[in-house]
């Protein structure tokens, strides 16, 4: 097992190396430059030239890249041009927010998607099947930022039962240790703060959750369809096992394997979606920050954040692979 993990991590290195080159070339091919982005209306050619010189953007690309990689190897991801804070710190304070949001989105997607997919398969070809598939697809065909706006409009503005933006009410005085606001609230005993943070997660979580929902429904449905016709299920039926046992222990358990894989693969989609939902809900996570970085041409942040995301993506896939052997003892990780 350890060797497998080691090998997978070793494989990650060339990918990350290639990614760092691509990212480096990409940020520097963006039109304009960070100097103009910083100076705004005050950008005169002289001011731009001076800022470029001071920041080192006028040096040859190769020199810039080597400096960058040299620092990277020492664990230094640089300093954000827009905020003047270390990139690592910016990521560390915002990632918990996005993770909290992603967890809520996934819980929603799994909680609704798996039963919906299961029943669609059980009543294959019937009305319930078609309607559950269409329902889950509507979730994905409405642009997520538009859905976010509608949810906000109805629940936050018209009915006023959920907060429209942010991670916590401005007037709540909460102590933060881990930056996971819900967790912080529980740890410090500030339950009102935890509850408030949780309420702030519902609308963005719901909007974000519709993205993986359709896929989870579809995979669950396909997987259950396959399993419920498998030989061992027929054998179990022939043996006269109770239908409940068959459904619970045989079908659902065996059908979960591809579902777990799919859930692991949703991370990329969720990060993309987070860029949009966090923007709509002024939610202070990595998605919104990444968007600001693109428009502010914050080179170090763009380079650093995308590498972090790629590493996370790879790690999650590894965990998913490893979890196979837990769900299905027959699978041995290779």
């Amino acid at each position: 097992m350890l060797r497998v993990i080691g090998k997978r991590i070793a494989l990650l290195i060339p990918t990350l190396f290639g990614l760092s080159i691509l990212l480096f070339l990409w940020v520097r091919s963006l039109p304009g430059g960070p100097a103009t982005a910083l100076l705004g209306e005050k950008a005169t050619p002289e001011a731009i030239a001076r800022v470029n010189e001071l920041y080192g953007f006028d040096r040859p690309l190769l020199t810039q890249y080597l400096t960058y990689v040299g620092r990277l190897l020492q664990g230094d991801f640089g300093v954000s041009i827009n905020t003047g804070r270390p990139v690592l710190e910016e990521f560390a304070t915002r990632f918990p927010a996005t993770l909290e949001l992603t967890v809520v989105a996934l819980v929603f997607a799994i909680g609704v998607g798996v039963p919906l997919g299961y029943f669609a398969a059980r009543y294959y070809g019937r009305f319930l099947d078609h309607s559950s598939v269409v329902l889950s697809l509507i979730g994905i065909t409405v642009p997520v930022f538009f859905l976010a706006f509608i949810l906000k409009y109805i629940f936050a503005i018209q009915w006023g039962i959920l907060p429209p933006d942010g991670r916590q009410d401005a007037r709540i005085d909460a102590t933060h240790y881990t930056q996971f606001y819900v967790l912080d609230g529980i740890l410090t005993g500030e339950y009102d703060a935890a509850w408030d943070a949780f309420l702030h997660l519902i609308l963005p979580g719901l909007a974000l959750g519709t993205i993986p929902l359709a896929i989870i429904v579809r995979i669950t449905r396909a997987s259950v369809l396959e399993v419920q016709n498998a030989d061992y299920v027929r054998t179990a039926r022939a043996k006269g096992l109770m239908e409940r046992t068959i459904r619970g222990s045989f079908i659902l358990r065996n059908a979960m394997l591809p579902v777990v894989t799919t859930i692991g693969l949703q991370l990329g989609l969720l990060i993309s979606g987070a860029v949009l939902t966090e923007t709509v809900f002024a939610f202070n996570g990595i998605g919104r920050f990444l968007r600001d970085a693109i428009f502010g041409l914050d080179y170090p942040v763009l380079q650093g954040f995308i590498i972090f995301i790629a590493i996370l993506y790879a790690l999650i896939n590894l965990i998913v692979d490893l979890s196979y052997s837990v769900i299905d003892p027959r699978v041995r990780v290779q």
Partner: protein, 313 residues
């Protein structure tokens, strides 16, 4: 949002299953078509797409005004936007710029069709090129290409599209190119794994025994028989392209006239007036959702129809 099909998972398509029966008398595609006709989801999808195509093609005849025209420019002020039925000649009202909402929705179908088709074609062409090179040649070519594809896949799809669009600046083609190129790695990976699964099939072995050249085998046998999942993905990409175009527009990318008749653009500008004139957001939003739903339903049904596992029912 980006892809409905998770990369290479293929879910029910099961690329490793060599059981895809290509030699049957009825034929895979004919059989699939028959099955589609019996599937209500597929029919709903087809009807939506049919209507959409009709509107898109007949836009010049259907729309009262041109897409970029501003016939109601003098009737708007910063605080008033005439809504549906409030002013003669504009049944769905005006937008922020003074454009006729009805005309813009109609022309928007054409713009969406163009975005969908061009970006899908681009992704398909690029992906097939890489996929055929990787899957057909194998060896180090395969390794290099798939490494590259892995790198691109390690970046979330929409972020990739955003990155490309940001580099291209605000030209009208930026969005199509960005969405198309961001689909290339997905198509490449899909085609390659589909081709790999076909490699051990009997008919390939037979062709090899006959002494056919590798090129002939790849182009004439391997490729055509590996296209199923790719075609399904292409149908789904038509849907995601329309949605992604709206997302890119929302993030402030893409170019052309601000009053351009494009659903994503209309939706984006309408956000600012959501509280004052919600119809400006809901109408294009609904158009995007319904069109995407049509393509998705058809794509999903097609996938199911081509899938040997559900075929045995």
């Amino acid at each position: 949002m980006s892809t409905i099909l998770p990369p290479a998972a293929g879910g029910s398509a099961a690329p490793n299953d060599p059981a895809i029966d290509t030699g049957r008398g009825t034929g895979l595609w004919k059989d699939a078509f028959l099955r589609l006709r019996r599937n209500p989801q597929a029919i709903v999808g087809a009807v939506i797409i049919g209507l959409f195509l009709l509107v898109a093609i007949l836009a010049p005849l259907l729309a009262p005004y041109g897409g970029d025209e501003l016939p109601g420019r003098t009737s708007i002020t910063p605080t008033t936007i005439p809504g549906p039925g409030e002013i003669d000649g504009f049944p769905l009202g005006l937008d922020r710029f003074g454009g006729d909402v009805l005309s813009k929705l109609i022309w928007g179908a054409q713009a969406s069709l163009l975005i969908g088709v061009v970006s899908t074609a681009l992704g398909l062409a690029g992906g097939m090129l890489l996929g055929v090179l990787a899957g057909g040649l194998g060896g180090w070519v395969d390794n290099v290409i798939m490494r590259f594809v892995d790198i691109l896949l390690s970046v979330p799809n929409l972020l990739l599209a955003v990155s490309i669009a940001a580099v291209l600046g605000q030209s009208s083609y930026a969005i199509m190119i960005a969405i198309g190129v961001s689909q290339i790695p997905i198509f490449a990976r899909l085609l390659r794994s589909s081709m790999l699964s076909q490699r051990g099939a009997d008919y390939i072995l037979a062709a090899q025994t006959l002494g056919l050249s590798r090129r002939t085998i790849t182009m004439s046998h391997l490729l055509p028989n590996s296209m199923g999942p790719v075609i399904v993905q292409a149908t789904l990409t038509l849907a995601t392209a329309v949605i992604d175009a709206a997302a890119l527009s929302f993030l402030g990318l893409g170019g052309g006239l601000p009053q351009a008749a494009e659903w994503g653009r209309m939706l984006t500008y309408a956000q600012a007036e959501l509280a004052v004139a919600p119809q400006l957001a809901f109408l294009p939003g609904a158009c995007i959702a319904i069109t995407a739903l049509g393509f998705t339903l058809l794509g999903e049904s097609l996938r199911e129809a081509l899938d040997p596992k559900t075929r045995r029912k």
